[in-house]
Amino acid sequence: MENLVARIGECVERGKVNKSSPYPRDMQGQEGTDELTRRALDAGVGPDEILQACSDGMKRIGDRFSRNEVFVPELLMSAKAMNAVMAHLKPFFQTGSVKAKGKFVIGTVAGDLHDIGKNLVAMVVEGNGWEVIDLGVDAKPAKFIDAVKQNPGCTVGLSALLTTTMVNMSRTIGEIKEQFPGTKVIVGGAPLTQKAADQMGADGYAPNPQGVVAFLNGGVQK
């Protein structure tokens, strides 16, 4: 059973979804996360253990991404493999036998339509056991405020790619903090730095999806 769990983690890292998937080339014809997760559950492996393997696999590919050893396409293949695991685990979340770690509201701020990075973060965070509420792109402060109202205790993630939309990011943080001072906000995107995040009043900054997971798992919202 241990082997099955380890293989699920490896398939997440390598982006191997199922037996018929041609990717990656050196794993053609082998089982992927879809078959392995089903087999693991049938064999009595707990969903928590599978979720942990998934999270470990995403961490490994995330670390390689941070070191520029792989790029966004590999990360997206891993996210797809992880989604195949999550499809099997969804019933356990719905019945409450596996609890989400918390809620994470994410969106690209007003004036910005770039969403690839935001989507990647959403997928990786979800794969790490968080419930994700995705507000999409060009999201105005009021949309974030509504989402925080509807999801008490959530953490908020703001994304921007244009330098000039960082003003809107700052405004959004200000409005969230004014109405919900206890809500944690993490920011990310190409023009952001830790210094810029501090100046805006954000609680955290992450240069990549793994950074967001580390921030969330660091005790923001249990």
């Binding site: 520029n68 910005d112 190409a190």
Partner: protein, 247 residues
């Protein structure tokens, strides 16, 4: 001039560009994705071919420009007056444009079909292909804009004038909100591109901006070391060109 243009209003021109006019090179997509030349996994190189194969039938290319007079108010150092409207261009763009006597405000688009296809794939079962389709679409939009830029340069040189590099709202510290000013000076629904309330273009795969014109202006590279955006398209283009001068 190689490309045909039609004057649709006074000093406003729409330029006819077909997909066959684009010097499209899939190596550029590989480099934008991050892979060094020839190091992309075969699986993704197949996806690039698939995405590039969709471009000819999904690109609805439209491009155009309007020529307007430029002046520089003495008391203002942070922008220029273009067509009677003050643009707060910030220091980088103002510095490059300050000797302009005229400017071309331009728009170029490849239409909505590629972005719609990319979005479907990203939401569905093929996120990697969706991402690669998005990068291919952005590359195509930039290639169209390069052609338009070259066309404007060729036309101005025939009149004894020079042109600058091009600058777009949202980049080089020029606020994206000034898109509204830029579009207010263009014919309505110019090239089929419209703006949202928050100044974003539809179709998304569109490029708008300004090019300085005048006898004394010079074309200069982007001054990326003065800007904080490390992953900017134009910085990436510069990096690609320095790594691979043939592009």
């Amino acid at each position: 001039m190689r490309l045909r243009e039609t004057e649709i209003e006074k000093n406003s021109f729409e330029v006819s560009i077909g997909f066959e006019d684009l010097p499209f090179d899939t190596t550029e997509i590989e480099l934008t994705l991050g892979y060094s030349d020839g190091e992309i996994p075969v699986h993704f190189s197949g996806m690039i071919d698939e995405a590039a194969g969709q471009l000819p039938r999904r690109c609805d290319i439209r491009a155009g420009y309007r020529i307007l007079d430029v002046s520089r108010p003495e008391e203002r150092l942070d922008g220029l007056v273009v067509g009677g409207t003050f643009f707060r261009l910030d220091k980088i763009v103002t510095g490059q444009m300050k000797k302009s006597t005229q400017a071309a405000l331009f728009v170029a688009t490849i239409g909505p079909s590629m972005e719609e296809w990319s979005r479907q794939l990203l939401k569905g079962d093929e996120p990697a292909l969706g991402y690669i389709a998005d990068v291919a679409a952005s590359t195509a939009a930039e290639t169209v804009t390069n052609l338009l830029h070259d066309h404007i340069g060729e036309k101005m040189r025939s009149l004894g004038l020079n042109i600058t590099n091009r600058y777009s709202p949202g980049y080089c510290n020029w606020s994206v909100s000034e898109q509204h000013l830029l579009f207010s000076l263009l014919p309505e629904n110019f090239c089929g591109v419209t703006l949202s309330e928050s100044a974003l273009m539809h179709p998304i795969k569109s490029v708008s901006g300004i090019i300085g014109i005048g006898p004394d202006v010079k074309w200069k590279d982007y001054i990326c070391d003065r800007c904080g955006v490390k992953d900017c398209t134009y910085r990436a283009t510069r990096r690609r060109e320095s790594l691979n001068p043939k592009l």
